[in-house]
């Protein structure tokens, strides 16, 4: 009901929402890192994201990494790349704004796809509980 009202309101304003979400099992991320090391991290994450998820002792917060994967997958679900279209993981970046809130920045291929789909803004919400991390992304299209 609430979603319907929001959709009607947004529709009257001339914009349309799109939603992507994803859930990641945190131990899968730890396991991937243990098996493939830095190659795994550098394939998926930007340097900023890797630093953001690193503890002071040099170990990683797998929960934070998993949440970022969930965010990237959520954006992929939103953008729906064709099977022959490139959408590198690093072209979708999660950054913390000065208040500490997580935000999305799109680069290169992801940015071009979003522009082509008339996406004017993305909102991100991350959550984690025990062994799972999730993300919800709301896109506004005109």
């Amino acid at each position: 009901m609430l979603l319907t009202i929001i959709k009607r309101l947004i529709s009257r304003l001339g914009v349309m929402p799109a939603i992507g979400n994803d859930l990641v099992f945190v131990p899968d991320v730890a396991s991937s890192h243990h098996q493939f090391g830095e190659r795994y991290l550098k394939f998926i994450f930007t340097d900023n994201e890797i630093l953001d998820c690193m503890h002071k002792d040099g170990s990683y917060s797998y929960t934070s990494l998993a949440a970022r994967i969930a965010a990237k997958e959520s954006v992929m679900k939103l953008l729906k790349p064709a099977r022959d279209q490139l959408l590198p993981w690093q072209s979708i970046e999660v950054r913390r704004d000065p208040t500490g809130a997580a935000d999305l920045i799109l680069h290169r291929e992801a940015k071009a796809m979003a522009e082509k789909q008339s996406i004017i803004s993305l909102s991100l919400s991350l959550a984690h509980e025990h062994q799972y991390a999730s993300a919800l992304v709301l896109a506004t299209q005109i």
Partner: protein
Amino acid sequence: MQDKIRKILKDHGRLAVDANSLAETTDLYQSGMTSHASVNVMLALEGEFDVEFPDHMLKRSVFESIASITSAINQIKN
């Protein structure tokens, strides 16, 4: 080569079905492989076959079936 690919899919693909029961053209994503699992599959393939997937091959169509993976590896090796 396909036996090794099936073993990698079994170990890293997190498929909902037995990798040995898949037809060559079965869609791996339809069989439960997530984008994240496909990264693990790609990294394991690179290690097993001593290849590096070039950027232009890093798309869904290359990793969507045993046949497409086989074709991509043969292409890189040649």
